[in-house]
């Protein structure tokens, strides 16, 4: 055996050490220099975590600041069945009374497949505290944003609802999504061994911005009145559908808008799609006699007729362009005023045929806003149908004045009536009052907007004089009269079309405003196919109009025009 000298052994040790340190140094250079960017990223991702924080969705409020929709953070109880499966029966027995669930179904969930199963949502904080105290392994408590509509179905068609991703699907929720949705923020955080955030090491912090709050022109009390009266009408007349709109004609502000059938936006999936449609802006129908206001106001505006001009109404049957036009009741000679308040189809047709003419009638149809969207800030609005003049047939000029061959939304009809009540000024319907931040500082305030002037104030006054006679015993809607108030309005009874044919089903409507001389509110009532015999607008929609008008005038403290006799007052007191 060869023996090494002391010097050789020392050299060997030094060599080994040098090689080891050289290898270590080489590895160090590799890690720290050549793979620095890659490894530093891995190290950072192990240590740091980016947490996104969603901004709260904005609230929707009525014109008086009452809350109509807000977002709440609720708790969810979930479980990891891979952990809970071993002790599922005992956990189910403990949790079932707290979660108010059936123990058997709960046990099935706890012993199921996978690593995540949601047990129950919308748990209140007290229950969460009790569940935490049980210290059950495998349970997960999570937060979830929940959109809440405290008034339930009230104004559901206006508000709309949100989907599972908290995005607006319909109504204001969808139309004003860009304002309502908040902006997400993020934080770069570091966690300790137990997964808790080390707050002092928070690196970047961009806070979320909550969504803006939307203030509507809707008044929840008037909305409630409209919905209650519509429910009464639905119970009394059993129509397929119904709508009521209440507006301020001078500004175009919508105070209430209700539609039946309806739904609860807290549980939108529970109602059929048909019930979720806002019929006020998305359904069109032939307006019927309410459309006579267009032809009459056009002829008065042009100075082609006066209210006293008389037309022969042919005793209820008039042959024109090879077809007979009928009136509901036979009339002889009627003045323009009588044609309006007695609602003579023949009279209206004769005004159009003999005085106004097709081009002017068409220009007034367009002038009053038919055939185009009103521009109300609600998604799903349709334009209606107003055929261009080139598509009119010889019969059109006699049928359009009585509201046939044209289709309009309830909103369009009310806007036209508003223009007549408002000195001829056609206003844009307004449903958003303002958009404010969380400190109620307005970011945008919407002002009334005039979009046209189809008729002069003089023609508007003449029309009001004629329409005031409608809710009188001589007119078609005595049941629409409101005690103490000067009401102007027009009835409509339009036959429905099914499979291209008129059938014996009707749209019954009444559109009116009060006080007639200085209108504060205008109301549209329309019922689709009322059952039980009565179907005329005056007898079906008229009383509903009165019911709404009486309550709304009382609520808004609109002073009556006609005082009651003093002795009657004393008796009532």
């Amino acid at each position: 055996m060869k023996s090494f000298t002391h010097k050789q052994r020392a050299l060997g040790v030094v060599l080994c050490l040098s090689l080891s340190f050289t290898a270590l140094a080489g590895r160090l250079v590799d890690l720290q220099v050549f793979r620095h960017s890659e490894l530093s990223g891995v190290a950072e991702s192990n240590r740091e975590q980016v947490v996104h924080r969603q901004g709260r969705r904005g609230e929707i409020r009525d014109c008086n600041g009452n809350l109509l929709a807000n977002s709440q953070s609720v708790r969810i109880v979930a479980a990891d069945p891979s952990i809970t499966i071993s002790n599922a029966p005992a956990i189910a027995q403990q949790l079932a009374p707290l979660l108010k669930m059936d123990p058997a179904s709960l046990q099935a969930k706890l012993a199921g497949q996978g690593k995540y199963v949601r047990l129950k949502t919308k748990i209140d904080e007290d229950t969460i505290t009790q569940i935490k105290a049980l210290k059950i392994k495998g349970l997960v408590l999570e937060d979830q944003l929940l959109r809440t509509y405290p008034n339930g179905p009230l104004a559901s068609h206006i508000l709309g609802f949100v989907d599972n991703e908290h995005r607006g699907v319909q109504g204001i929720e969808s139309g004003l999504e860009e304002y309502l949705q908040g902006l997400a923020g993020y934080e770069v955080i570091e966690r300790d061994r137990k997964g808790r955030e080390i707050r002092a090491l928070r690196d970047e912090e961009i806070g979320p911005r909550d969504g803006f709050n939307v203030v509507l022109t809707i008044d929840q009390v008037i909305q409630h009145i409209a919905e209650t009266e519509l429910d009464k009408a639905m119970a009394e007349f059993h129509p397929q559908a119904g709508v009521i709109i209440v507006m301020r004609p001078k500004t175009g502000e919508i105070l209430a808008m209700s539609s039946r059938p309806t739904f609860d936006p807290n549980t939108p999936g529970a109602a059929p799609a048909d019930a979720r449609r806002n019929r006020c802006v998305s359904d069109v129908a032939e307006p019927g006699s309410t459309f006579k206001i267009v032809v009459a106001s056009g002829a008065l505006n042009e100075g082609l007729v006066t209210l006293d001009d008389r037309f022969d109404c042919e005793n209820g049957a008039w042959l024109y362009a090879g077809r007979i036009l009928h009136d509901a009741h036979p009339y002889g000679m009627l003045s323009v005023m009588e044609i309006l308040f007695k609602s003579s189809n023949i009279g209206a047709a004769k005004i159009a045929v003999t005085r106004l003419g097709a081009p002017r009638l068409y220009s007034y149809i367009r002038g009053f806003g038919f055939g185009r969207k009103t521009g109300v800030a609600l998604p799903g609005e349709v334009s209606g149908i107003a055929h261009p003049l080139a598509k009119w047939n010889p019969l059109s000029i006699s049928r359009i004045p009585m509201g046939h061959e044209i289709a309009a939304t309830p909103m369009q009809m009310l806007m036209a009536m508003n223009a007549i009540s408002n000195g001829g000024r056609l206003m844009k319907p307004q449903i958003i009052k303002s958009i404010v931040d969380d400190k109620n500082v307005p970011l945008m305030t919407y002002r009334p907007q005039q979009v046209g002037q189809p008729i002069t104030p003089r023609a508007s006054i003449l029309m009001a004089a004629a329409l005031r006679k409608v809710p009188t015993p001589e007119g078609t809607a005595p049941k629409a009269a409101v005690k103490g108030y000067d009401v102007a309005g027009k009835t409509g009874t339009a036959e429905k079309i099914e499979n291209g044919q008129y059938v014996k089903k009707y749209y019954s409507s009444f559109i009116g405003y009060l006080p007639a001389a200085d209108p504060e509110i205008s109301i549209l009532v329309s019922l689709d196919n009322p059952a039980g015999g009565a179907y005329y607008g005056g007898s079906v929609a008229g009383p509903v109009f009165r019911g709404v008008a009486e309550k709304v005038t009382q609520y808004l403290a609109i002073p009556p025009q006609f005082a009651e006799p003093e002795e009657k007052k004393v008796a009532q007191l």
């Binding site: 807000n70 953070s73 405290p150 103490g484 309550k551 009382q554 009651e564």
Partner: protein, 127 residues
């Protein structure tokens, strides 16, 4: 040299400087640790406050929704019926409307204004 240094007396200034240096370094070290500790404590405090704020905000939104529900016309109507309070909106005949005060209103309750005394203008002689 060594022998010489041994003989030298211990200078107070040198000792003091050394002590101060040591104490300063120790103080800086302890201060650093203390400050770090304070930062962590403050971080924990902030985290607690943030959690409390979040919880309060959650509770606030929940209570706002509850309040809105309790103030809703449908709820109030139901409660009125439930308790049989007979609360209804006043009829028009039960309402007395006061006229809005006009310009004449301001002068009605003011003491009558006396006409200005008829005095002859005094003539001041120019000097």
């Amino acid at each position: 040299m060594r022998r010489n240094r041994k003989r030298e007396p211990l200078r107070f200034g040198t000792v003091a400087r050394s002590l101060i240096t040591c104490v300063s370094i120790a103080a800086i070290g302890v201060g650093y640790v203390w400050q770090k500790n304070q930062i962590y404590r403050l971080g924990d405090e902030i985290k607690k406050r943030e959690a409390a704020l979040l919880a309060t905000e959650k509770r606030n939104t929940m209570l706002a929704a509850q309040l809105a529900q309790l103030k809703s016309p449908a709820w109030l109507e139901a409660r009125c019926q439930q308790y049989g309070l007979g609360l209804v909106a006043p009829k028009e005949t039960q309402t007395i409307r006061l006229l809005e005060p006009g310009p004449e209103w301001d002068t009605r309750f003011l003491p009558p204004v006396r006409p200005a005394a008829q005095t002859k203008p005094r003539l001041v002689a120019a000097r």
